[in-house]
């Protein structure tokens, strides 16, 4: 029993070496397998107007990278970044928690107010939060960031201001992003994290 463990074991648990008790709540379902997607086009002519949108339209690349590593990195960062709760009242689990703790008023009142605010303000903020989180997560993983024109960016990225895209769409896009991230070194300017 935990109480009787030596102090060293308590620290070991804290350091995450016992994986089972702290397993994250995994999402159910397996996405369908997709055919290998094509390498996206990355060459375009930069104009000042296009350069002004690099805060929104960019891709990542790291030298000496493998496709598998890039896939793992992008998948982890996307998992951390997706499902922004800006203005939302939290997901279903939390709503249930609130109802249990504060009675029905705690859940419903919060949900209505938050849902209204979210419908008005949420979409752009959610997309912006996703971009901030991706830039930090991939940046800490050692990736460089490069600008892209919107129409080329649209070919292999998705925006989820108002709900999650279908899994098969996400899988293809994330795979293509990983192909780019582990492909030839871009010739364009590094933008910084």
């Amino acid at each position: 029993m935990m109480r009787y463990y030596a102090r060293g074991a308590m620290v070991a648990l804290a350091l995450g070496w016992v994986a089972a008790p702290v397993a994250a709540q995994e999402q159910g379902g397996t996405p369908p397998s997709a055919p290998v997607p094509s390498m996206p086009r990355l060459d375009f002519v930069e104009t000042p107007e296009i350069a002004a949108t690099y805060d929104k339209y960019f891709y990542f690349h790291r030298d000496a990278n493998t496709l598998d590593e890039a896939k793992a990195d992008i998948t982890e960062c996307d998992a951390l970044s997706s499902g922004s709760s800006i203005y939302l009242g939290g997901d279903q689990m939390l709503q249930t928690q609130m109802i249990v703790q504060y009675g029905l008023a705690g859940g419903v009142g919060g949900a209505i107010g938050a849902a209204a605010a979210d419908a008005i303000f949420g979409s752009a903020q959610r997309r912006a939060q996703y971009r901030v989180n991706m830039r930090n997560c991939m940046g800490w993983k050692g990736y460089q960031r490069y600008g892209l024109s919107k129409d080329l960016w649209d070919n292999f990225h998705f925006e989820e201001g108002n709900g999650r895209k279908k899994e098969e769409v996400r899988l293809v896009a994330l795979t293509q992003q990983a192909m780019v991230a582990s492909g030839p070194k871009p010739a364009t300017k590094e933008l910084g994290q």
Binding site: P21, Q25, G28, L80, L88, G89, G90, M93, N136, R164
Partner: protein, 302 residues
């Protein structure tokens, strides 16, 4: 292990001799207030843990408690209860579906989707890692003077992990930035105050874009000014009998972004926490900590 075998029976006997009393009802974390210590409506409980946090201005932080046997037992009990209920609903939904399929076939219409069998992950039971989460501050200061604000919070003893500057909302959401990509843990022993000082706020990496979206761009300069003021420590004004020990910080692995907030991390702390790119390193041993499985808080759309 031999020593453990000798200690265990003695400890088990000690536990058996404790009377079963109102300690069975779980106590909630609570901020300790000086006025309540003065009129004895609050007092030092030798079975409870105490976390102190301070800084040169009001601050707040959210902490997770590393699950122990008690947490896992409560989790399993909740899962069993929820699963029993979900299985009942599934059984009747299945019956209805079978009838609907027959009816659809007769009307030459497409069959409706089959109900999905419940799994542990779809029950909506709070995961062990989030149980006993506690937020300290920004309200209910214990002590303040010209230079610092100090908080003192009573909690269940155990190992706590800093999850970031996150504030709970009435709706149940948290807002702010988590330290999801690397943080620290510390033990909170019963009967003593474990003092964090302002180390956590001093060490969390500042991201200008996150600051701009959770506050104002100008806040970055204010944060830097705050950090330049240096460390705070200790808890002024504690009565006799309260011992204060500095928290011993240990590197802690990545954590899921359970609340869909901004993602950050505690910066490198010499001798405690380091990074090989994004890999969290326990600087006490030089070992990289294994990443947990990170999954999105969103349900996949299949």
């Amino acid at each position: 292990m031999k020593r453990l075998a000798m200690i265990a029976p003695a400890l088990m006997l000690a536990t058996a001799l404790q009377p079963a009393h109102a300690a069975d009802k779980p106590k909630q974390p609570v901020p300790i207030e000086k006025t309540k210590l003065a009129d004895a409506s609050q007092k030092l409980d030798p079975a409870r843990g105490y976390i102190a946090m301070s800084d040169h201005q009001r601050v707040f932080g959210t902490f997770l408690r590393v699950p122990d046997d008690g947490t896992m037992a409560a989790y399993r009990a909740d899962v069993d209860k929820a699963m029993a209920k979900a299985k009942k609903h599934y059984a009747s939904a299945l019956e209805t579906w079978e009838a609907d399929v027959k009816a659809a076939a007769q009307l030459k219409q497409p069959a409706p989707a089959k109900p999905v069998e419940p799994t542990e992950q779809t029950l909506g039971v709070m995961v062990p890692e989030l149980r006993d989460m506690v937020t300290i501050g920004p309200m209910f200061i214990f002590a303040k003077d010209a230079n610092s604000f100090t908080y003192l919070h009573e909690v269940k003893p155990g190992t706590y992990v800093y999850y970031g500057g996150l504030m709970p909302m009435p709706s149940g959401a948290l807002i702010g930035a988590c330290t999801c990509m690397g943080t620290v843990a510390f033990e909170v022993k019963p009967g003593v105050v474990t003092d964090l000082g302002n180390t956590l706020n001093q060490q969390t990496e500042i991201d200008p874009r996150t600051v701009a979206m959770t506050g104002k761009p100008a806040d970055v300069k204010l944060l830097e000014k705050l950090r330049a003021k240096g460390p705070t420590a200790g808890v002024a004004g504690l009565p006799q009998g309260w011992d204060v020990v500095p928290a011993e910080l240990h590197a802690y692995r990545k954590i899921n972004n359970y609340y869909g907030v901004f993602v950050g991390r505690v910066g490198a702390i010499p001798g405690v926490l380091a990074y090989h790119r994004d890999k969290v390193v326990d600087a006490r041993t030089g070992q990289e900590l294994p990443d947990p499985l990170i999954t999105s808080r969103q349900k996949p759309k299949l």
